[in-house]
Amino acid sequence: MIESGAFTPQLAASPEAQLLWLIPALPMAAAGIASLLKQGARRSSAALAIGSMSVSLLISLAAFFHSVGLWTVGQTARETVNFAWLHFGSSSVELGWILDPLSAVMLVMVCFVGLLIFIYSTGYMAHDERFGRFFCFLALFAGGMLTVVIANSLLLLFMGWEIVGLTSYLLIGFWYHKPSAAAAAKKAFLTTRVGDIFFLLGMVWLAAQTGTLLFYNNGTGSIESSAIATLLSQPAAFGLSAATVVGLLIFAGAVGKSGQLPLHVWLPDAMEGPTPVSALIHAATMVAAGVYLVARVYPLMNGGLMSCCTSPTLNVVTWVGASTAIFAALIAVAQNDIKRILAYSTVSQLGYMMAGIGMGGVAVGMFHLITHAFFKALLFMGAGSVIHGCHEEQDIRKMGGLKADMPWTFVSYAVGMMALSGVPIFFSGFWSKDAILEAAFHWTTAKAPFYMLVVGALLTVFYMTRQVLYVFFGTWRGHHPAHESPAVMTVPLAILAFFAMALGLLGTPVLPLFRSFLNGEAGPLDITALAESEFWLFLGISTVIVSVGFYLGYKLYGREPIPADAPDPLEASARPVWTLLANKFYIDELYEATLLRFYAWWGTVSDFLDRAVWGGIVTSVARLFALLATFNRFLDSEWVNGAFDKSCEELAHSGGLLARVQNGQAQRYLRILAIAVAVLAAILIWSSRA
């Protein structure tokens, strides 16, 4: 796999770093083997996926603790293993993997959440006919995602990125017999492709400017200071530097993958896939890949500045993130599908992450990414459990009162909901969202994002309250009574719930372990943070947001049980707003009316050109020739034919003589052959003699 001569390890790479490639390779190998298994081999296929993922988790943990160990002794914990992949003459394309705090944290998260979701899937998909194939896809997805995580090269990252996109397509359309699922899969694929084109352009540009796609390579990597300096000095269009343009192009890829405005349309539709897929791909990991990408190329995004968060690229990131956050939260308020609400919530939270990275740096955004992965996976799996228990019902208006029927699911779902809402102190969502708000508050460029994010947080609390009240409180509005899910589904829920609460402890202002780990600083126990007024200010803001959100939600939905076919209380009170939100701000319709209409129009124009213009020309030419031909035929039949027929007869006659030679008898052919040989040999002999 590795050419020994091509090694350029930055530190003398540790064994953990050397073996990092195993983490994505194992699930991929599992997928490869599983794809060869028979369809009936359900158990072995699942065992392969889960087993490979467990081993990957163990290796990631080892790598993580190795990284933590380096950090505690104060070393820069960044190890890379690079190797040449293709040689073109003297130049070569290099790939490599990296073990630094960012990838270590991400690895553990992806492996852990992935493993839990794999286990959960064995319960959720238990009755599916193509169980084995599902696990094959899941394992392939995990492999691709982990490739993205460990990549030390934009190219390798892009490869993983595309594998992830492919498996996302396969898994959204897993139930391809449903037309809506097939359409959603196509939509997801095409929409993300728009972003990927920009990503590819940015990548090519970056390679052209810096000559390498490696991130870190002993100071010659593409996002290390020398390369960034080159990029900054290189002007592009509109007075922007090449660094800015490349950053924006790469960010466009992230926008597509992470469902940011305006390419968010595919993500809610992607909920057509099986719920574990929604949990794994469209909540916890894949959509986070965009955020991870931005975090990974942060030096580029930051424009090589030491001070944080003022580069034009990060401005764009921030504004896009903040608008997405509030925009998606607004839509989520008026949705009725349990998974769609969560999907919009995901879009909104991804906006938070982007904004967090844009305003507060890598650590802020990544912390929210990690906590969000846990509690959103938890929520999705809880939703899956609810759907499973309610016989594949997804409309929250047809649920209700599940608190009693599904206690385990309810408790864990409530934990997830409170984590997402950011209920202070005990839930991880609070700490991570708090950090983003704090960063927004301190952002010097503009204040608007801060207010947008606060309103977004309020809306988040509101729609989650609405959802929980609809689903778990009140009275049962469905047909068949619901039932609790099996242990294989609830146990992962419980584990995730635990982490949804506990993870916050890593990022409190008192002990900002996560931030210092990612930034490679010493991790101080900063008790004084407690005494700062700012801490209490944000605690207060959060408390107010959460209380107001809960109150509003309870006032509208919780005071009395909602009857089965009553309109939504919000709809009753503010119909135009509701309609606008329920139709997702008409974005799909807007695209329909503009982009798709344009394509259709362009198609019609092309058709017209084809048929009327070119077709007309061709037809008239053809007519002309037909006319000539008629004239010709007249000449032919009257004048030429007479002569020609005669000569033909003659030819046929003489041909008949020759045809006797070829009478189908092998021996005659052989005879002619022998004569030829004899004659040729004789000529040869006598000519050579002369």
């Binding site: 070829q662 009478n663 189908g664 008898q665 092998a666 021996q667 052989l670």
Partner: protein, 103 residues
Amino acid sequence: MTPLAASLLVAALMFSIGLAGALTRRNAILVLVGIELMLNAANLNLIAFWRYSPHPEALTGVMFAIFSIAVAAAEAAVGLGLVIAIYRHYKTTDLDQINRLKG
């Protein structure tokens, strides 16, 4: 007459006998027999040239003969397979009656 010339003459005679057989026999199998004889004559040539060549240690002639024997074995197998297939189709191996080998 030098020994090489004698061998070559014998080979030429064998070749001509084989050719004559292949050209005159009606039975397809015997045509194949004739071809086998021609191949053998060619092998005899190869061996004779090797034997009397200035550099017999090069072994080229023997090698050629051995490969040619192997190829001839393959040729015989396929040829006889073809004859059997033809026989199945026409119910005869008489070449005078098999004349569909034309356009």
